[in-house]
Amino acid sequence: MTSAEIKDKLKSRTVGIAGCGGLGSNCAVALARVGVGTLILADFDIITESNLNRQYYFLSQVGEPKAPSLKRVIHQINPSVSVIAYEVKLDPEHILRYFRDCDVIVEAFDQAEEKEMFIETVLSAFPEKPLVVGLGMAGWGMNAGIHYRHEGNLHICGDEVTGISNEFPPLAPRVGMVANMQANVVLEILLKS
C-alpha cells in the first residue's frame, strides 16, 4: 500500500482515545500524522509541568485542559484531521455516547481503577469493537518486556507488570513506546478492514 492509498483508506475512519496523558497524547499524534480522519478525545485533566516528561504538550500550554490542547497540537501537525475533544471525566454513560461510532477504541488512562471501569464498560457495551489497551510502562530500560498480545478484539500493549510509583515513575521513552505500539495496532486494524 502506498502512502497515498493509506491516507485515502484512513480518512473515513474514526478512532476514540480515552485519556490524553502520556499514552493518549502520543498515540493521538501518531494517528493524526498518518491521517486517521476523525479522532475523539476525552480527558478531564489540566496540563502540569510534571506532565511534560512524557506527554505531547508544551510549556506554553501548562494550566490548560488537556483534551482541547491536544486538539490544537494535532491541528498544527495535520489540520485535515477532524478532532472532537471532550473535557470530561468519563463515566460509563459518556463512554457509550462518545465512543459508539468509533472503528477502534484506545484505552489510555492512568489509574488501574479507571482502566478497569473503561475496559469492562467497552467490552460489555461494544463486544465487537476492537479495544486497544496500554498496560505496564513505568520506569526505564527493559525494552524486551514490552510486548503485544490479543485475545479476540481485545488488544494489549505494554509489559503488563510495572505499575507506577514514586521510585518507578512513568517516563517518555517507555510510555512513548507503548503509546506508539497502541497506534500501530490501531493502524493494523484499520488497514486490514
Binding site: G24, K115, E116, V161
Partner: protein
C-alpha cells in the same frame, strides 16, 4: 483439565474451577482485574459462580497503573 490461560496452555487436576479458584491456584492477587472466558466478560460478582471447564480460553488481565 487443559485450558488456555493468557495464550498459554495450562493443565489443572480439577475438571472445573470457578474464577476465584483459578485466581487462587495461580496466586493472582491483583485487586484490579479483567477476566474473560471464551471472550465473554466475567464481572467481579460472578467470580465465585462462573465456571472454567476443559478447553476453555481464559484471559486474566492485571490492571497496573500508568499512562
Amino acid at each position: 483439565m487443559k485450558i488456555i490461560l493468557n495464550n498459554t496452555q495450562e493443565t489443572f487436576k480439577q475438571d472445573k474451577m470457578t474464577v476465584n479458584e483459578l485466581l487462587e491456584a495461580k496466586t493472582f492477587t491483583f485487586k484490579m482485574l479483567v477476566v474473560r472466558i471464551n471472550g465473554t466478560l466475567i464481572k467481579k460478582d460472578e467470580y465465585n459462580s462462573a465456571t472454567i471447564r476443559d478447553s476453555d480460553d481464559v484471559m486474566v488481565l492485571h490492571l497496573v497503573s500508568g499512562g
